[in-house]
């Protein structure tokens, strides 16, 4: 059974459609990156999944339970870190986490809080007021409150924003460590290298719609640029490759190395043709960032 199941989900704010018929499935234990430009509908979708926001149409299920019909059970299963962590600055870290644990129905909050303090590295600041902490520590407290009840699903909205590179790596490692267990994680961020480093799969939103949901390697290879290395780079090879429908541009780098720009995924056909010329290598030259920009390149002027 899928852990997160979203079907034809829409949310309208007045006349504006924030998300428009979203459908996707996330399996138990997956760590999925949720990508999209600002205003693409990521936060809206995440808030619907947590039960904080009602959908206009469609269904969202967590662990097989409909968010709308079983809000209490769903909320007990989900840990959520919003973009602005919901921290009471007048509380100490320990007192705040105990409060969060009690709200989330943890029977024995004390050991749960101490465990989570160790797990996200808050031991040295546990007695301090949250208002006096650095941004990195505040973010950790935010993650700690999201996982204090050992949720099956963890939803993190921009957990890496505003952090310096060292803090980013720390938080990234904490998330990756969580996902190594049985927790299903849905994570949105603009820091694409971090997504590449830890996520199994990405779901890309653009203007409230899913434009891609696949493994990062597949996404990068879909369209975009690929590099070829041929053992026998004859001019006939260049002609044949150029004639493949979908090859937009071919640049000969010399010594059998060719760079191809594709309009869509024609790698299988390229491979078939290239084998005749001793294909030594076929790889994507795009990274996630290139793929992301390609998928979400709708000009702002065309947005609703």
């Amino acid at each position: 059974m899928a852990m997160i199941e979203v079907e034809s989900l829409s949310k309208a704010y007045g006349a504006t459609l924030a998300i428009d018929g979203l459908s996707f499935v996330i399996e138990p234990g997956e760590l999925v990156g949720f990508l999209g430009k600002n205003g693409a509908g990521k936060t809206t979708t995440m808030r619907i999944l947590t039960g904080a926001l009602g959908a206009s149409q469609g269904t969202a299920k967590i662990g097989g339970l409909d968010v709308e019909q079983h809000p209490r059970q769903v909320k007990a299963m989900v840990g959520y870190l919003p973009e602005v962590p919901p921290l009471y600055v007048d509380m100490t870290v320990r007192a705040y986490l105990r409060y969060a644990a009690r709200l989330k129905g943890v029977d024995n909050p004390k050991p749960a809080v101490e465990t989570v303090i160790q797990r996200v590295g808050l031991a040295e600041v546990a007695h301090r007021l949250i208002g006096h902490l650095s941004k990195g520590f505040k973010q950790r407290v935010g993650i700690a409150q999201a996982i204090v009840h050992s949720p099956k699903v963890l939803i993190l909205d921009e957990p890496l924003s505003g952090l310096d590179p060292a803090q980013r790596r720390e938080i990234r490692d904490v998330v990756a460590e969580l996902a190594r267990g049985e927790t299903t994680v849905l994570l949105s961020t603009h820091v694409l290298p971090e997504i590449e480093a830890i996520c199994d799969r990405v779901i890309v939103l653009d203007q409230g719609r899913v434009v891609a949901q696949e493994r990062i390697a597949d996404l990068a290879a879909r369209g975009g640029r690929v590099g070829l290395v041929l053992g026998r780079p004859q001019s006939a090879a260049l002609d044949v490759l150029r004639n493949i429908d979908g090859v937009v541009e071919l640049v000969d780098q010399g010594q059998g190395k060719l760079d191809l720009t594709l309009s869509h995924d024609v790698r299988a056909e390229i491979a078939r043709v290239a084998v005749a010329f001793d294909l030594l290598e076929l790889r994507s030259l795009d990274n996630l960032e290139d793929a992301f920009l390609r998928l979400t390149s709708t000009p702002d002027s065309e947005r609703p």
Binding site: G54, K75, P82, P86, L103
Partner: protein, 251 residues
């Protein structure tokens, strides 16, 4: 049960905040001063009547000491307590901390009840700190204890009304000052209603005002109509707050 956790967090926050201590200090000073003045005035009047046994006028504890004291306490709280209630939700909306409650397995009604209980715990502490006046009267005079208890209960119930009203105002906006102004304006309106009694032939307005109900109670009259008034007032504003929070899911 989870409402109690919210209440605990709220009362701790109030007792740890500057505004909480400003309210405690201001109320204690002014209420103490008014108590002294009320007792002094009562003693003065009493001497006056003893010196002139045939002079017109009567003197009793209820009218000349308890009602002035308790009604002043209620009046002062009417304007002081919105300072406490303004932060209940506005602060959470501004700091975006309400999301912790909204994404936890706790209902909006439990959140509202928790906040209300928290604020009322603070009010109870505030009134208990100022309970030395009635205690002094009980120890040094032959006043009926029930009168003192009814007076204190009246102030507590009037406070509960203001807290529920202030909380609804606080849930309506993320601006604390605006929440304060709305609550104060409403409190002032409830007060003015009493003054309009003469103009209102139907008597509906005076039924809506707090003061007449409080006056009955302070005289030791436990009426079902007064109790229903307080209860309906509180329930109405608690449900209004709950509805405001529930609507947030759809906006």
């Amino acid at each position: 049960m989870k409402a109690l956790y919210v209440a605990g967090r709220e009362v701790t926050a109030l007792l740890g905040s500057a505004i909480g201590w400003i309210v405690i200090t201001a109320f204690s000073l002014v209420s103490g001063l008014v108590f002294f003045l009320a007792v002094y005035n009562y003693a003065d009047l009493s001497e006056h009547l003893v010196a002139r046994p045939y002079a017109e006028g009567s003197l009793n504890f209820s009218d000349n000491l308890l009602w002035p004291f308790f009604s002043f306490q209620s009046l002062f709280l009417l304007f002081l307590l919105p300072g406490i209630t303004m932060r209940l939700f506005s602060e959470e909306l501004r700091q975006r901390t309400l999301e912790l409650l909204e994404t936890s397995p706790i209902s909006t009604l439990e959140i509202v009840i928790g906040k209300f209980l928290g604020a009322m715990s603070f009010v109870t502490i505030l009134l208990a700190l100022n309970g030395w006046g009635p205690l002094y009267l009980w120890l040094t005079s032959e006043v009926e204890p029930i009168l003192l208890l009814c007076g204190m209960a009246g102030v507590w119930l009037a406070s509960a009304c203001i807290v529920s009203l202030g909380m609804a105002a606080s849930a309506a906006t993320s601006h604390q000052v605006l929440a304060l102004v709305i609550a104060e304006a409403f409190a002032f309106f409830l007060l003015v209603l009493t003054g309009l009694e003469q103009l209102d032939s139907t008597g509906i307005l005076s039924k809506l005002a707090i003061t007449p109900h409080l006056e009955d109670l302070t005289r030791g009259l436990l009426r079902a109509s007064d109790m229903s008034y307080f209860l309906l007032f509180i329930v109405f504003f608690l449900l209004a707050t709950q509805q405001r929070l529930a609507i947030r899911r759809w906006t």
